[in-house]
């Protein structure tokens, strides 16, 4: 993935809590075998509604999504992250996130910024009152700020996630460097192999 250090852009206030991944990208979009093109499906059930915030011209081109509590709960579909990024978002700010969604985001370089509910409200109000405001998410310093409004808050990322974002590291490559330790572990593992359970056609060998 690409390294992410500082994101600067306008933000869009979603003002909804409990936005689950079924709402971020409905299941009809999950049939694709590609990794691209999901932006068109982002929040697709809401986008028919002309009053939906993403349809407002003043928020067009925003790159930071300001959500509510428990953003990205539910299904493990990484397609939710692909959809947000394909649409153009680089960061999501919320007061809490679904675990798997947060994990998936960190693998793709989507920054998840967790703020307290009151800080989130403040940010939401700022960008609602003035959609043109520039918001800065700094992964290096772990702060989110609206310079024009003199508003600035710190956020937390675990050091592994922060490092990966900053360096653009591929997790698999990191783990594969420990292949000797993995082999050593396998020599003592209790995991039963399926080789002795199923034949080449997947039929269970009878006992």
């Amino acid at each position: 993935m690409k390294p992410v250090r500082v994101l600067e852009g306008r933000a869009v206030p979603l003002e909804r809590s409990d936005v689950d991944t079924d709402q971020i990208i409905p299941s009809e979009w999950l049939k694709r075998v590609e990794r691209t093109g999901f932006g068109r499906g982002l929040f697709s059930e809401w986008r028919d509604d002309t009053t939906f915030v993403l349809n407002q011209p003043e928020y067009a081109g925003a790159t930071i999504l300001v959500a509510g509590a428990r953003f990205g709960t539910g299904s493990s579909r990484e397609h939710a992250v692909w959809a947000l990024m394909d649409y153009g978002f680089g960061a999501v700010v919320a007061s809490s996130f679904g675990d798997i969604f947060r994990n998936n985001s960190s693998k793709q370089g989507l920054v998840t910024v967790q703020l307290s509910a009151s800080d989130l409200d403040e940010l939401s109000t700022l960008v609602k009152d003035n959609p043109a405001l520039l918001v800065v998410v700094d992964v290096e310093k772990l702060v989110v700020e609206v310079p024009e409004a003199g508003w600035r808050r710190a956020f937390v990322l675990d050091s592994m996630t922060q490092e990966r974002l900053l360096e653009g590291w591929d997790d698999i490559g990191i783990s594969l460097r420990r292949v000797d330790a993995i082999s050593q572990y396998e020599a003592t593992s209790h995991a039963p192999s399926l080789e002795h359970v199923f034949d080449a056609e997947g039929h269970a060998h009878s006992l």
Binding site: S27, L30, K31, V33, R77, I182, Y185, H190
Partner: protein, 467 residues
């Protein structure tokens, strides 16, 4: 030091480095399905990587498969492409796969346990958030995203942060009309959709011990609905007897040896949990969800709640929005709400015991006029067993559709979907907006409440059918 079950499995699987916080964990079993894997296999090819342990990887077609008779071709070209991609990827990388029509095919969380490949003490992952289902066998099982699927394919490991532990203790004996589904709906209602976030839940207490293994699967299945990535139940004789004789476990003395090891997968007596929640099973009743998240639960005997019941304005908004989407009026008794569709199926409630319980309610009655009722067995093995017992006849005579196994109307990726505005009583696990089809309205219930609701045409308990 005394350890919880979770900590024991965690310690057993740390490959190297400190045993706490963040570690590289070995994965014993990786289950794969067609929806979250194609991009992972692509990633492997792009980077010239292989699957490290195809023999610890097992794939099945479930999310996308039509539940029409097998002779019907798959008309949706994108679904067909995805199913073909799964077959091709598995062939290319040497992974055992159960395609549509295979004797072992079924919903990934139904087939792992029923084939006996999900076993106590294991780490099990799948690109699916309901992987915790396998925790019923005393394993650490959790859902992952596609990047992590690729990671496990390539390395058979996953970097993980250690979770906090929560004991959910259900004391006492549940009334006879309260099923495992009702227990978990009560728990999710109590914890809320975020209450379990960051925790691994161990379900404990007399009412849990009294559940069958399949009931424990229903319970663990919905851990994610409370925000927890994993939920598990300690091994006991119910676990051992469930596994005996299944294809994936050894036979004879080797089984007894394995069982002796499995019996150690329990929390030590004085193990410390970071959080403990206690419920009394005798307080529980049959539940129905009324809203658009699984924590919005109310007793079947109850009424639709009102936004005014809540103190916070945030919560009032959430309730109002849910009521609007669900087209419900506060104060309406649940029993007065008519349904259009009943779905019995999904990895929560599509196993043989679920079908037996639903069939017992449906036997001799007729599905209410105008209601469409579907029964979708969780796997081909479940379907075959049900047909052996004549359950298919019971359902068909009562006016239910008896369909081929798969995820079906749980998430509406195949042709089984709700049309906008339709109301459905569903034994699945998510009532999110649009989950079962755009504009569809989902109420989560147990299999017996689903069957009774199909017969009565409105939310109903089994006693009303026989009355």
């Amino acid at each position: 030091m005394a350890r919880t079950l979770y900590e024991k499995i965690w310690d057993d699987h740390v490959i190297e480095g400190p045993k706490d916080e963040s570690a590289l964990l070995y994965i014993d079993l990786h289950l794969v399905h067609e929806v979250t894997s194609p991009q992972a296999f692509d990633g492997l090819r792009l980077n010239g990587r292989t699957v490290r342990r195809p023999d610890l990887t097992l794939a099945t077609a479930d999310h996308n498969v039509p539940t029409d008779p097998l002779s019907t071709p798959i008309t949706d070209p994108i679904s067909r492409r995805q199913l073909e991609a799964l077959d091709e990827n598995c062939r290319e990388f040497g992974i055992t796969v159960f395609p549509r029509g295979h004797e072992n095919q079924g919903i990934v969380h139904v087939i792992g346990p029923e084939l006996g490949v999900s076993q106590p003490g294991m780490t099990i992952v799948c690109g699916d958030s309901h992987t915790a289902t396998h925790g019923a066998l005393g394993s650490l099982a959790f859902g992952i995203g596609t990047s992590e699927v690729e990671h496990v394919l390539a390395t058979q490991t996953l970097p993980q942060q250690k979770a906090k532990t929560m004991a959910v203790v259900v004391n006492g004996t549940a009334p006879s009309n309260v099923s495992a589904k009702d227990i978990v709906l009560a728990i999710v209602g109590r914890l809320g959709t975020g209450g379990g976030a960051g925790y691994v839940i161990e379900y404990r207490g007399e009412a849990i011990r009294n559940l069958t293994l399949e009931g424990r699967m229903t319970l663990c299945n919905m851990s994610i609905e409370a925000g927890a990535r994993a939920g598990l139940v300690a091994v006991d004789e119910t676990t051992i007897e469930y596994l005996r004789g299944r294809p994936g476990v050894p036979a004879g003395d080797a089984f007894e040896e394995a069982a002796a090891r499995w019996r150690t997968f329990v929390s030590d007596d004085d193990a410390h949990f970071d959080e403990t929640i206690t419920l009394d099973a005798s307080d529980l009743v049959p539940y129905v969800t009324w809203g658009t998240n699984p924590a919005q639960v109310v007793a079947l005997n109850g009424v639709v709640p009102s936004p005014d019941d809540s103190v916070s304005s945030d919560e009032r908004d959430t309730i109002s929005r849910a009521l609007e989407y669900m087209d419900l009026t506060p104060g309406t008794p649940l029993r007065d709400i008519p349904v259009d569709v009943v779905f019995i199926g999904s990895c929560t409630n599509s196993r043989i015991e679920d079908l037996r319980a639903a069939a017992a309610v449906a036997a001799g009655s007729k599905v209410s006029a105008g209601v469409r009722a579907l029964v979708v067995p969780g796997s081909r093995r479940v379907k075959n067993q049900a047909e052996l017992e004549g359950l298919d006849r019971v359902f068909i005579e009562a006016g239910f559709e008896w369909r081929e196994p798969g995820c079906s109307m749980c998430l509406g990726m195949n042709p089984d979907i709700l049309t906008p505005g339709q109301r459905c009583a569903s034994t699945s696990n998510r009532n999110f907006e649009g989950r079962q089809g755009r504009g569809g309205r989902t109420h989560l219930v147990s299999p017996v409440v689903a069957a009774a609701t199909a017969i009565m045409g409105r939310f109903a308990s089994p006693e009303e059918v026989s009355a």
